[in-house]
């Protein structure tokens, strides 16, 4: 279907994906007030994460046992933890882990989920059947337990946590892409392309993938929120990113252990997780409204 658009044929898949987000849609998205708020907050946290070494008042790993569990003061606005590490600095560095794990695990989910969904839909028959049964199996295992098990096997780092969470997330992506690709398969342009003898790889890459990818974008944004919550939960029960690296979840774990003697430790990391997840949900809802107007206001 070269005749469909002059620029698209040349820019290939990525160009087509970007085209799914025309400029007026982005404007519409920004007009969506909550999305705009969410997006600016995510931007802020991104800046804080990137420039953490310059913003943080202290080294997040430097201990000061004499002043352990010190209450918030001018010098340490959020207080010190049980070995005397500055809470504020750890909070700032923790933004890095949350954002990186969020992005990486969604990336893992897309890299596994999209090809599986496309292949299942394109191939059909027993290949489709086998892939879908495998996905059914993944869904039937409790996600958190499975992630814990994977992390005990692989050890806890930013990368392994992202892989474990991505494996939890890819099933939704694969199912969405598959159902979208199945409908593409029935469209006239697809059949026409097949009839004029387009090679299979071209059919897949230039016709099926670009036309099936839209739900992936919305799901990816909502998946960020899920991944950030998941990372925090895993770190909270002590199988996430290994200490002493500061993560919001592990900070809450230490706050829980010292709840009676230092209750102030338990506020900031929780608020931080909550606001970031809320922001991603806002943006995800906004994207869904823009990309799929039929669903506007529904979920």
């Amino acid at each position: 279907m070269r005749d469909s658009g002059s620029a698209t044929a040349r820019t290939g898949t990525i160009g087509r994906v970007l085209e799914a987000l025309p400029s007026d849609n982005i404007k519409q998205l920004l007009q969506h007030k909550l999305s705009a708020i969410g997006l600016s907050y995510i931007g802020l946290i991104l800046v804080v994460g990137i420039f953490a070494p310059w913003i943080a008042p202290a080294d997040p790993l430097a201990i000061d046992p004499i002043n352990s569990l010190k209450a918030p003061s001018l010098e340490n606005p959020l207080g010190l933890d049980h070995v005397g590490r500055d809470q504020l600095s750890r909070l700032i560095y923790g933004a890095r882990v949350s954002l990186i794990v969020g992005l990486l695990s969604v990336g893992v989910a897309i890299v596994i989920g999209v090809p599986l969904g496309i292949i299942a839909a394109y191939a059909g028959g027993w290949i489709d059947h086998a892939i879908m049964r495998m996905i059914d199996a993944m869904i039937a295992v409790p996600g958190l337990l499975f992630a814990m098990l994977l992390l005990l096997v692989m050890g806890g780092s930013v990368l392994t946590v992202s892989i474990a969470l991505g494996i939890n997330l890819f099933t939704t992506q694969a199912r969405l892409v598959r159902s979208q690709a199945l409908s593409v398969k029935e469209r006239e342009y697809f059949m026409a392309a097949r009839m004029i003898g387009t090679p299979p790889w071209r059919m897949l890459l230039f016709h099926m993938v670009p036309n099936s990818i839209q739900p992936v974008i919305v799901q990816a944004t909502l998946g960020m929120g899920f991944a950030i919550l998941g990372e925090a939960g895993l770190s909270f029960i002590g199988v996430g990113v290994e200490p002493p690296i500061a993560t919001w979840g592990s900070m809450l774990n230490l706050a829980f252990v010292n709840l009676r003697s230092a209750p102030w430790l338990s506020f900031a990391p929780g608020v931080a997780i909550f606001l970031l997840v809320l922001s991603f949900n806002f943006v995800g809802d906004g994207l869904r409204d823009v990309l799929d107007p039929r669903l506007r206001g529904r979920i």
Binding site: R133, M134, D136, A137, I139, A140, V141, P142, G143, L144, L145, F146, M148, L149, L150, L152, V153, G155, G225, L229, A232, G233, F236, I237, L252, A255, F256, L259, R260, P263, S266, P269, G270, I273, F274, L275, V277, L278, N281, F282, G297, R298, I299
Partner: protein, 318 residues
């Protein structure tokens, strides 16, 4: 319908088979050696001879396919093996913990359902009012709130500061009703909040959609009382997507409460799972994962059956 159910049950077999192989193999690559975990602090005293004898006793010296088949055979015939840690049969270990998990799950389910449905219906009926705004933003907060942090705040407020509710352990409600409920209050609230928020959003949006349908206009036009229109016509038809959410939550009872059970030292299956994972207690983990998988698959099936019941147009005969 009966054929459909039978068909679905047969489809579960390959899925459960895949899970069983996956979980079995993952357990074998755990870096924690189960023998060392069993020996605990005395693991330095382990000689190779003792280790070998223990491996033989646990059946871990046999080739993997044999181990797998004998485990699978046991699972099917009801002999789920013995815990490496305390040598009790896995079945009786689970039987003593399951009631605690189930009562917590039931309580949090009720919290989600009552809170979610009530606020969802009110928000939809009073669309765009202050009440709607408060309920809708409350639901957004509930969805983004990490449940363990919410639990932490509840513990801090009710357990530490006010000191009016217990934050540790569990009593069975049918043995000690008052004490059981007091123990359940905080964890059930923490576990139920997220569900309530999801159910609220879904109830509101699907009720609003149904209220715009022609048959609602017809019902009103033929002079039915508004209350009857809402309860009999609108609500029933708007429950389909809500049922999906309920089904998902129902299936995830065993796996969903892992963190909360650990926080409240709840003697349930979730906390057992964490404990067993850390000690490479193969038979316990494998049994819990298989049991959870069956729960999720059955809950999905029940959801689909419920669909057909709520919407007689849905038939699964084809």
């Amino acid at each position: 319908m009966r054929r459909y159910i039978a068909n679905r049950l047969i489809h579960m077999i390959p899925v459960l088979f895949i899970i069983s192989v996956m979980i079995f193999l993952l357990m074998r690559v755990l870096p924690n050696d189960p023998i060392y975990s069993m020996a605990g602090e005395d693991s330095e005293a382990l000689t190779p001879e003792i280790r070998e004898a223990m491996m033989r006793q646990l059946g871990l010296d046999r080739p993997l396919p044999i181990q797998y088949l004998s485990w699978l055979g046991g699972m099917v015939t009801g002999d789920w093996g013995r815990s490496f840690q305390n040598k009790r049969p896995v079945t009786s270990e689970l039987a003593s913990r399951l009631p605690h998990t189930l009562q917590l799950a039931a309580a949090s389910f009720i919290v989600s359902l009552v809170l979610g449905l009530a606020t969802g219906v009110i928000a939809a009926l009073k669309r765009n009012s202050i009440t709607d705004m408060v309920a809708t933003s409350g639901a957004m907060f509930g969805i983004a709130m990490p449940d363990f942090w919410f639990a932490l705040m509840l513990i801090l407020l009710f357990g530490v500061t006010l000191g009016i509710l217990p934050v540790f352990g569990s009593e069975l409600v049918w043995e000690h009703p008052i004490d059981g409920l007091r123990h359940m209050a905080l964890p059930a609230l923490a576990l139920g909040l997220n569900g309530a928020a999801t159910i609220m959003r879904q109830t509101r949006s699907s009720l609003l959609e149904v209220m715009g349908e022609d048959y609602i206009r017809t019902a009103r036009a033929k002079g039915l009382f508004e209350r009857r229109v809402i309860w009999l016509h609108a609500l029933r038809n708007s429950m389909l997507p809500v049922v999906t959410i309920l089904g998902l939550r129902l299936g995830n009872i065993l796996g969903g409460s892992v963190i909360i059970e650990t926080m409240f030292s709840w003697p349930g299956v979730g906390r057992l799972a964490v404990f067993a994972l850390q000690r490479s207690d193969f038979p316990v983990i494998q049994a819990i994962v298989m049991m959870s998988a069956v729960a999720i698959l059955v809950a999905n099936l029940l959801t689909d059956i419920m669909y057909a019941y709520l919407d007689p147009r849905i038939r699964y005969e084809q």
